[in-house]
Amino acid sequence: MAMEMRLPVARKRLSESLGRESKKHLVVPGDTITTDTGFMRGHGTYMGEEKLIASVAGSVERVNKLICVKALKTRYNGEVGDIVVGRITERRRSAEDELAMRGFLQEGDLISAEVQAVFSDGAVSLHTRSLKYGKLGQGVLVQVSPSLVKRQKTHFHDLPCGASVILGNNGFIWIYPTPEHKEEDAGGFIANLEPVSLADREVISRLRNCIISLVTQRMMLYDTSILYCYEASLPHQIKDILKPEIMEEIVMETRQRLLEQEG
């Protein structure tokens, strides 16, 4: 049986290979952002002694009169209209609950839902009222930092490579085989338990490894970046994608393609 071993090497700064400088205003807690009192303060800032001071380490974002500091890594904060993917851990027991929902969604089920409302203490209320939400059947879940999921108009994508992906705003990404026909009547409450073909499973595994490489190199996740990364990884075997040097190569290629597409 062949085994692969690696020795530790000194890590190098990834940003040096890009050779760019950051154009943003970067702050750390305690830094004064501005002494101008005309601005409204957003997340990541607080008011102290006539000055606006940063409370997280990140980049300053200014939208008209609102200043906020976007931290590098944050826990997910719900906003109305976000799509989330998650597992049911606990159910609230009420009379109507017992009658209606228990038949459809049980504890331990993985579901996709939309944020309906946010409470003052940060808790969110979810609903699965549209047929595209509901219980998730067979597929692969990848957990990433929520700050790496780009906000887009839609988070349900059917990728041309043969699988579909749900990019949850909370950092949970669900990869599943594209259903052949959309079941209109059942909606999301009947799990499809037919065996998935080998080709589909390979596509899903490759996508999962690509997402992990993008996350390790701190790239934003959205349908185009995932697709380009998938295409860049095709010459390599699926298990090789996770090796550090191949990961760098693939992500570098993805970055270049994205830059060409923009400019």
Partner: protein, 245 residues
Amino acid sequence: MAGLELLSDQGYRVDGRRAAELRKIQARMGVFAQADGSAYIEQGNTKALAVVYGPHEIRGSRARALPDRALVNCQYSSATFSTGERKRRPHGDRKSCEMGLQLRQTFEAAILTQLHPRSQIDIYVQVLQADGGTYAACVNAATLAVLDAGIPMKDFVCACSAGFVDGTALADLSHVEEAAGGPQLALALLPAAGQIALLEMDARLHEDHLERVLEAAAQAARDVHTLLDHVVRQHVREASILLGD
């Protein structure tokens, strides 16, 4: 009197430092991928690792939830191999509990807990090698870990220890200097505002000398802040470049 001379006539300490000189500090953020925030710091030969989880729902009894702010839970543990003689109990002993409480006091003063009501923030610190100044190293590591997790704080919390030997205040004591038995003080500071988060001393020191020792510790903490500030800015810059626009 036989034994070590903590401060020589020329003004050098046991390890060759000057009275107000700090030990070499190296720090890194984001060392654990699975935690919300993590950091590792080396202050001379003292090595500490801090890991932060949160803010998340209160674990255990819901009754402990505070309606208007977050609960900060700190745990200190020192590895069995961290001291000269192998330690029997890594956590749960009196010193660990006391350190945990002190860390909690320190961070409750700095973290903006009103932004996360009814939730809990967990800070776990482990000392891997203890060569004096363990409280300071833990606070510095925990500050970086909290920053890495993106939890809003008023300011950095920078800590340093100080002692008093032969009429001179020494900053950043090593284990040899602590074991000599003189008065020693631990100070945690919020540098921008100059506010003290925690001041701890359990020795006898004449009040005339207190101000000098306090000032030495404060200056050392400000020096630590300069270093930590540099580490965080570099980390943020690197991440910002990788993320692109």
